[in-house]
């Protein structure tokens, strides 16, 4: 199973600033291993973020995103103690969901 994400969500003025680190290989499918064999593409395809139960961000990713991706964004609203939940799904259909409280 994939490692937990590291999520920080902070209220700044009237918006919530979210910073998230994800643990993922993000193999492009263009790199060869030391035996000369292609390492198959393995990457996060979709990311979904909800604030309480409302979707505030969806993203479709490609293989150009780096290994161990870092994403930061803001959304309007949010209050201290609210839940921010992030889910990613990769092309192996593996997924990971983590939640942080807005501080």
């Amino acid at each position: 199973m994939a490692d937990p994400m590291k999520i920080r969500a902070n209220l700044v003025g009237d918006s919530t600033e979210v910073k998230v680190l994800m643990s993922h290989e993000m193999d492009t499918g263009l790199v060869k291993d030391k035996d000369g064999k292609i390492i198959p593409a393995w990457w996060i395809q979709t990311v979904k973020v909800t604030h309480n139960d409302k979707v505030v961000l969806t993203a479709q990713w490609g293989t150009a995103v780096s290994k161990n991706p870092f994403m930061s964004f803001k959304f309007k609203g949010g209050a201290k103690g609210d839940k921010v939940t992030i889910t990613w799904v990769d092309n192996h259909n593996d997924s990971r969901t983590d939640t942080a409280l807005i501080a």
Partner: protein, 274 residues
Amino acid sequence: MPSIHSLRLIVGVAAIAAATLAGSAFAQTTLENASAKYRQDLADGNPADLWVARGQEMWKEPRGPRKVSFESCDLGLGPGVVKGAYAQLPRWFADAGRVMDLETRLVWCMVNQQGYTHADATKQTFGNGSRHRSDLEALTAYVAKQSDGVKMNVSLADPHVREMYDVGKKAFFYRAGTHDFACATCHAADDLRIRLQYLPNLTEPAGAQKAYTTWPAYRVAQGETRTFQWRLHDCFRQQRFPDLIYGSDLSIALTTYLAASANGAVYAGPGIKL
């Protein structure tokens, strides 16, 4: 559509590589600025934190054949004490009869307290992707993080530590191999670079402080968090020397020399490096 003010995806080193193609007169400053900017962008999101988080979980859990956690591992400040531990290592450990750096001490605790064989404890000293992760890199990143903001304070009062310092300094200038290289070939003068990579002058406090206090570090080009043992190991590979043994006395001697040279500086790791 949600109201998204900014969405940034960090896409590896591509932006920095492009920046270095600028005119040669500006290449130096452009490279420095680009990497400074990149580090700043990632300061809040250093992927080394993923290693720290994993190391933190491992620190608490019962491990090995004896199901003992690292809470009983003494890094020099008492069993299980991690706050400030990295900033005072290497040091002499009477129970082991050796001067040890953090990584060597972790292996010692795994073997002597948790019951691993030495071979099992050092099976994956350096990680290679999520399929071959290194527990030692994660544990080292976690413990080092607990010295973030602490002043480097390696004591040379113990004669064993002092000897390792002297040996490390001597070894730093030892030239050998097909290319006549020593550590000093690249790291004993200011403002030199290999290709576009600036080299710290490790014989001066300022250079040693800046370099030592930012390891372990997330290496963007590798997507891995690397430790000081890794740094020494890979320097010797490039020096055309043989394979430096993890936790060997030479690795501890050089670490003692460089860590003590960084005394007085505030530890600020784990860092992030290209």
